[in-house]
């Protein structure tokens, strides 16, 4: 203990540590604004709060300070070697005990740097930004994100130094591991600053917190492995590497520790429990002989345990198949499967993402699946594109997370959907279709709903929402948003815009498709960016409802913006409104009319076109042209991609890259090329004529399938007419 105290005093006197702590505080202070310093335009002007300030400063601090403390550690450990005093010290005390004490002293100063940095940033938040402090964010971000990065850096570089006995090699190796962490998309490898861009103000860090903690646990094991390996190879006085190893290996505890740590690291990495490789819809093969015509989910959410359980019954019309396949979520374990009331054995495919259920070759088949567990997220989307999660204060389950196992069959003309979601009573659930009843019992609330649709893409969204409701003609909108963001919603007149969009679409496309089902718009966390529309529910990520107060000056009392004042803020606000308009347009094109996708044709093109028209109508040509030029640029850009023009070279790249390029190409066609084609059609027919024809198409194909060919025929256009050079 006295050696430890001496070492702390000695380091303090050397002044480098004071400089390091001061530098760390400055770096963390700069990091407060790190979101606006990135290239992530979606996150620009996000309202500053404890979550954004603490995470930004901790993440930025982690990326720089981990390297600085790593260098300080290796310099401290190499000090005696450089000054040739190692031999003298070794003759007096156990040199490696001294090294351990030095490492502990550095860890002590890392704690001090983290603590002081945290206090400085809290003080800045309180005094300069006058934002109330939520200490839980600070504790999490500084002690789970920042401090472990510093600790890992010290442990890794210490282990490497013991292993190599060289300052240069150990630091350069740390540098390589550091670069790997910064350039990796795998959340398990991002030990420096984690894989997260921002902590949600709406639901906090809960949905992603466990992945960060898991990353930290994995790296504790990896660091212990490296450090213990270092101890195993530490140089004994007068011995070379081999002889030192042969002496060190006699310590059974150390050997056991090395084996346990290496095996532990491997086990934690392989058995990672939170993610899976989610199958894309385009990758699945549909059985054309079977139709789905009924779905009855009875789901119970246990938010405290982040679990769900329940029974889902599917009704099929079978025209000659003996097998029905389902895409599943690997996190959900099956209790039983019944076919027409009888429990049966099912098979899982090799990759565990699909199950095969044998069915009798009769017309009516009813399958009931009972399952439960924790939802797994997409492997490459942790923190940025999570299609499903359940946390204490929120539920976000998109259909593509396969939380309702997806039958790989055709969908009937109409699918009767009815069932319930049972969740803690402090949550408001946004259900698909029409809410028919709510029952509260013993701390849980059962939300019963029914719906008739041509798809079975149902989601479940829950949170602590404020709900507002408004109507226009036959259409009712339920708007669910966080009470925390009420001020922004009111100041930026978001509800007014939603009403205006409803009005514009009703006037220019036609009446909303249903008087029974209200349109539900729900705010969701930023862990899935952008928006989504499934059935009559639209989700929009919180950045659209939670920007800085500086944005308020953009709009006048009528919610209009000055078109001549085009700035980054205008662009961001218009993009937000445009995205809401896009998702709302899907209620007409997608939910109302089933647009049969065949690239470039899909509901996305029509949704993009109408959001553009709304922006043009609301804010004028100058503003809407910004969006149009973005589409044109993207189409042009992708057309000139090397691998798109030289597809024969694609065999040089790996499968993952090929798939992502294919995805990028399809997205560009659906989202950017198609609306440009539609605008060309508008140019040919004239704005009024084009919109009139579209209105007719909507009326004719409401609740029916609309193919590209049928669309062109109805519009009196040909593919050549709307071809883009």
């Amino acid at each position: 203990m006295s050696l430890f105290k001496n070492e702390i005093k000695f380091m303090f006197k050397s002044k480098i540590i004071i400089f390091l702590i001061m530098a760390s505080c400055i770096i963390m202070t700069i990091g407060i604004n790190s979101i606006n310093m990135s290239n992530d335009f979606d996150l620009f002007y996000i309202r500053e709060s404890s979550s954004t300030i603490s995470f930004g400063s901790a993440k930025f601090g982690a990326s720089i300070c981990s390297l600085l403390f790593g260098l300080f550690t290796v310099l401290t450990l190499d000090k005696d070697m450089r000054k040739r005093s190692k031999g003298i010290i070794e003759s007096n005390i156990n040199y490696y005990n001294l090294m351990m004490i030095r490492i502990l002293a550095i860890v002590f100063y890392e704690i001090v740097a983290t603590l002081i940095g945290m206090i400085v940033v809290i003080a800045i938040q309180k005094s300069l930004y006058t934002i109330p402090i939520n200490i839980s964010y600070y504790l999490f971000n500084y002690w789970i994100v920042l401090f472990p990065s510093l600790l890992f850096s010290t442990l890794i570089v210490s282990g490497l130094y013991l292993l190599t006995n060289s300052l240069d090699i150990s630091f350069i190796t740390l540098g390589v591991i550091f670069i790997k962490s910064l350039t990796s998309h795998n959340y398990l490898l991002t030990w420096v600053q984690t894989n997260i861009d921002i902590v949600s103000d709406f639901v906090g860090f809960e949905p992603i917190g466990h992945t960060i903690i898991y990353n930290r646990i994995l790296w504790i094991f990896i660091c212990i492995s490296i450090f213990c390996l270092g101890l195993l190879f530490k140089r004994r006085y007068g011995f070379n590497l081999r002889n030192s190893f042969l002496t060190n290996v006699k310590s059974k505890v150390l050997v056991l520790l090395v084996i346990a740590a290496i095996l532990g690291s491997g086990f934690i990495y392989i058995k990672e429990p939170y993610t899976m490789e989610l199958m894309r819809n385009s990758e699945t093969i549909i059985d054309e002989k079977v139709y789905l015509n009924g779905l009855n989910p009875k789901i119970i959410f246990n938010n405290k345990k982040r679990e769900m359980s329940g029974e889902v019954s599917y009704s099929f019309i079978n025209k000659g198949s003996n097998l029905i396949k389902f895409n599943i979520n690997e996190g959900l374990k099956i209790d039983f499967i019944k076919v027409n009331g009888k429990e049966i054995e099912y098979k899982k495919t090799k990759d565990e993402s699909t199950i095969e259920v044998p069915v009798p070759n009769i017309e009516k088949v009813e399958i009931t699946i009972s399952y439960g567990g924790k939802i797994k997220s997409d492997k490459n989307g942790v923190g940025r594109g999570m299609p499903g999660y359940i946390s204490k204060n929120s539920i976000y389950l998109l259909e593509n997370s396969n939380w309702i196992f997806r039958p790989l069959v055709k969908e009937g003309d109409y699918i009767n959907i009815s069932g319930y979601y049972s969740a803690p009573d402090y949550l408001t659930m946004v259900t698909p279709g029409k809410l028919i009843d709510v029952e509260t019992k013993g701390g849980t609330r059962k939300w019963m709903f029914e719906y008739e649709s041509h798809t079975a893409d149902i989601g479940a969204f829950g949170g602590k929402y404020k709900k507002s409701e408004f109507t226009f003609q036959n259409m009712t909108v339920e708007f669910y948003y966080s009470p925390k963001h009420e001020e922004y919603v009111e100041s930026m007149k978001i509800e007014e815009h939603i009403k205006n969009i409803m009005k514009y679409y009703t006037e220019n496309i036609g009446e909303y498709y249903s008087e029974t089902y209200p349109l539900k718009i729900a705010e969701v966390a930023l862990y899935k960016r952008g928006g989504h529309s499934s059935e009559n529910v639209i989700t929009i990520s919180e950045n659209m409802l939670n920007r800085d107060k500086d944005m308020y000056s953009l709009i006048d009392d009528n919610g209009k913006i000055e078109p001549m004042d085009i700035s980054m803020k205008t662009d961001i606000f218009v993009k937000d409104i445009s995205l809401i308009a896009h998702e709302m347009a899907h209620q007409w094109w997608g939910t109302g009319v089933n647009v049969v996708e065949s690239s470039p044709w899909s509901s996305e093109g029509l949704a993009q076109y109408f959001s553009y028209k709304y922006i043009q109508n609301e804010f004028g040509d100058m503003v809407s042209n910004m969006e149009l030029s973005r589409w044109e640029n993207r189409v042009r850009e992708l057309k000139n991609y090397y691998y798109i023009n030289n597809s024969e070279m694609l065999d040089k790249v790996n499968e993952k890259y090929r798939k992502s390029l294919e995805m990028e190409k399809i997205q560009s066609e659906l989202y950017y090329l198609m609306p440009i084609k539609l605008l060309k059609g508008e140019e040919i027919l004239g704005e009024k004529g084009f919109l009139n024809e579209l209105e007719k198409v909507y009326k004719k194909y409401l609740s029916k399938d609309l193919t590209y060919e049928a669309f062109l025929r109805e519009m009196n256009l040909s593919k050549e007419d709307i071809e883009i050079e």
Partner: protein, 247 residues
């Protein structure tokens, strides 16, 4: 011993060390990872062998290569070398000549180290894409590799001569300047690795481009900034060579 022999000895001392061998191994590992994981796909949809992709490749590898160089330079200013220098200076060799000799050996060492990712990339392009026109890569190497190297060489010599601790401080700074996005943090004149320039050019020229092959336009201002870094590096070197130390 004439100067050439001295130089040969210095270079041999560095290159034949286990430490250098390991550093080379790391440079090779990073080069392989960068080429196969990040360059194969091409930079922003350009060909993997375009000037853009190659500039990006240079920017991925140069922080490590330059950090290796600075680490090797710490050997010039470490305690052991300082003790040897006292003996050396009693021989008929001037301080200027001594530092010139050291700088030259570092330059040779750097050339050898830098040649490793460059040769690896050439082999990779030849084997995978049957691409031979390596002359197109001269410009990225000349503008994005050499100026930063000369600048850091001069700066390291000067800082090392003042205090070896400053040299150690320079290593993480070099590393961070080359690896993290500093566009919105640091002024543009501090764009030593040319990362700000590449980012701005990407936004201006690659986004929404109208041709498949886009040449990387280098404005005169960027060339002047490179010349400034080269001049500063040479000035630092001259300063180190002519400023005599008190014995």
């Amino acid at each position: 011993m004439n100067n050439i022999n001295l130089l040969k000895y210095e270079i041999k001392k560095i290159i034949m060390s286990k430490k250098y061998f390991y550093m080379i191994f790391l440079v090779m590992a990073l080069t392989y990872d960068s080429l196969t994981r990040l360059i194969t796909g091409g930079y922003y949809g350009t060909a993997p062998f375009s000037e853009w992709s190659y500039t990006f490749f240079i920017q991925l590898t140069s922080p490590l290569v330059i950090s290796v160089m600075i680490f090797m330079m710490t050997n010039i200013f470490n305690e052991k070398e300082l003790r040897a220098r006292k003996i050396l200076f009693s021989a008929p060799i001037s301080q200027g000549k001594y530092y010139l000799l050291k700088s030259t050996s570092i330059i040779v060492m750097f050339i050898i180290t830098a040649l490793i990712p460059i040769i690896m990339s050439f082999i990779y392009y030849k084997v995978l894409f049957n691409y031979n026109e390596f002359s197109t890569f001269i410009r990225p190497i000349a503008l994005f590799f050499i100026p930063s190297f000369i600048f850091f060489l001069g700066l390291s010599m000067t800082l090392g001569k003042i205090n070896i601790k400053l040299l150690y401080g320079l290593i993480p700074i070099t590393f961070l300047l080359g690896t993290i996005d500093t566009t919105n943090i640091l002024p543009q004149w501090l764009d030593i690795f040319g990362a700000h320039f590449l980012k701005i050019s990407t936004f201006a020229e690659l986004f929404g481009r109208e041709k498949e092959v886009m040449s990387l336009n280098i404005p005169n201002s960027f060339i002047y900034s490179r010349l400034t870094f080269i001049s500063l590096g040479i000035l630092f070197l001259i300063y180190t060579c002519i400023k005599t130390e008190k014995e």
